[in-house]
């Protein structure tokens, strides 16, 4: 398990960026279903800096993982063949759409019609980016990663983490009232639940298949048992996110809302990060690839 910490920058990237991306789904549902006054919209736009920052910090972490970040423009060369090139392209398209949306929205010149269209584009691209991030680990010489359970996990984390980030945006924007709106409440709860099921379910499915594998260096079962405590803590954190956010949308008064939704977002970051580290710890090659080495 200790060797997985060598991949900390990548684990941070695959935690923060998809989480920020997922928040746009809840915002898209919000703007398509709820009527808001102008100052409410402006406050939400301002607080949208949170998911934007999560995405940007995630990308900066990935940048630090590279030994030569200044050659990064070359990373598109493998488009179509290298899953990493595909991910980088998808990531850039998503980030560009997100920045266009956010800067335009902040300028105060975006009509409601444009907003409703553009934010769905951002949300869909964000989820596609999360999926491609997971696909980048599907390498046929690493059978423990070469499973759709990988992308499913990251999309799940994007949903649960994104819902937590979006609830925090609304709490900081002092829009407790919209959170109590029936459609949005249902949407937040559904996205949280689906996210936890996909994220945790995907990881457990992957751990189960990894336990049955082995190579000349590691037994898969040893990798899984080495990561078990981390997996359990990660799952507890994500369930904690769910519980806090259920409280945020159902009962929390204006006074406790910010605290509860902040707690949910922090638990989401910690929980997803732990489960990402567990994912890295379950790297099992068909041959001699030795992680962190």
């Amino acid at each position: 398990m200790a060797a997985a910490f060598a991949d900390l920058p990548l684990a941070l990237f695959s935690t923060l960026a998809p989480m920020g991306a997922g928040a746009f789904l809840i915002l898209a549902i919000l703007f398509s279903t709820t009527k808001l006054e102008d100052d409410g919209v402006a406050a939400i736009d301002k607080c949208t800096v949170i998911p934007v920052a999560l995405v940007i910090v995630g990308f900066i972490a990935a940048f630090f993982h590279l030994a030569s970040p200044f050659h990064a423009f070359a990373a598109f060369t493998g488009l179509g063949t290298s899953p990493l090139s595909n991910e980088v392209l998808m990531g850039c398209v998503f980030v560009a759409s997100m920045l266009v949306y956010w800067i335009w929205a902040m300028s105060g010149k975006m009509t409601l019609g444009v907003r409703k269209g553009l934010i769905w584009v951002v949300a869909v691209l964000g989820l596609a980016f999360a999926w491609f991030t997971g696909m980048a680990y599907m390498i046929d010489t690493i059978p423990s990663w070469n499973t759709l359970a990988g992308p499913v996990q990251i999309v799940g984390f994007a949903l649960v983490g994104g819902a937590a980030a979006a609830v925090l945006v609304l709490a900081l924007a002092k829009r407790a009232d919209v959170l109590k709106n029936a459609t949005l409440k249902t949407a937040v709860l559904a996205v949280l639940a689906v996210g936890i099921v996909l994220g945790v379910g995907g990881l457990i499915a992957q751990a189960a298949t990894t336990s049955a594998m082995g190579n000349a260096v590691f037994a898969g079962a040893d990798l899984v048992s080495g990561a078990m405590m981390v997996i359990v803590c990660g799952i507890i954190c994500l369930v904690g996110t769910g519980v806090c956010d259920v409280f945020a949308v159902r009962g929390a008064g204006a006074g406790t809302l910010v605290g509860v939704s902040f707690g949910a977002a922090v638990l989401a970051i910690v929980g997803i990060l732990l489960l990402r580290l567990a994912f890295y710890a379950m790297q099992l090659s068909v041959g001699l690839s030795i992680m962190g080495a």
Binding site: S68, P69, T141, A216, V286, G287, L288
Partner: protein, 209 residues
């Protein structure tokens, strides 16, 4: 097209690691990086026979491996920049240091543990088959250093001719050859296990990281 290949004779190798060190010396490698590695592979058990005697079937053997300049390299397939590429002339798999971003994807994908990101140099490094020496008509330094003459290098045809009994590497602890089609011919020692029915473990992990 010419395709260069390595040859390894498991019947001769004693696991002395001269090949590994000659390479480290030639390329001035740090303790963390080795282009060639010697894996110690062992396993076995004790079983009770009909007369009540305990009979051991323990074994250990060595396999010296660098990059195998594979025909279907896992590393080039995943490389996002094209830095990891197969040279058209001799089929050697080489790193273009000016393109490499040091993402380490090739390191993850290669099942022979060959490429490694050198953060100080800012790019991936690995065995290039001593391309310079080969161009000058010499053999790679590891081949010439081996005191047991357990290694050889040349075109695929030369290796097939000179080492008629050898087969494309398919022994443990290496992966099954189908994954990358390595250009490594092996004369297995008598205890060698096929990659798909291996029961042992690498015994010197810290040495080959």
């Amino acid at each position: 097209m010419t395709q260069y290949a390595f040859y390894f004779n498991g019947k001769r190798c004693t696991g002395c690691k001269t090949c590994e060190l000659a390479c480290k010396d030639r390329y001035d490698l740090t303790p963390e990086i080795s282009y060639r590695k010697v894996f110690e592979y062992g396993g076995g058990d004790w079983t009770k026979d009909a007369d009540g005697f305990y009979v051991p079937d323990v074994f250990t053997y060595y396999v010296s491996v660098a990059c195998n300049h594979c025909d279907d390299p896992a590393c080039t397939k995943v490389c996002p920049t094209g830095a990891m590429h197969k040279d058209a002339d001799g089929g050697l798999v080489l790193v273009d240091a000016d393109r490499c971003i040091g993402c380490g994807y090739c390191h993850m994908a290669c099942p022979y543990n060959a490429p490694k990101v050198d953060r100080e140099k800012g790019h991936t490094v690995k065995c290039d088959g001593c391309a310079e020496r080969v161009a000058a008509g010499q053999k790679p330094i590891c081949v010439e250093a081996c005191p047991l003459r357990a290694l050889d290098f040349g075109t695929k045809e030369e290796m097939e001719q000179a080492h008629g009994d050898s087969q494309v590497a398919d022994i443990a602890p290496l992966p099954q050859k189908e994954y990358t089609h390595p250009n490594l011919y092996v004369d297995p020692c008598k205890h060698a296990q096929m990659a798909n029915e291996a029961t042992g473990k690498v015994a010197n992990i810290l040495e080959v990281m």
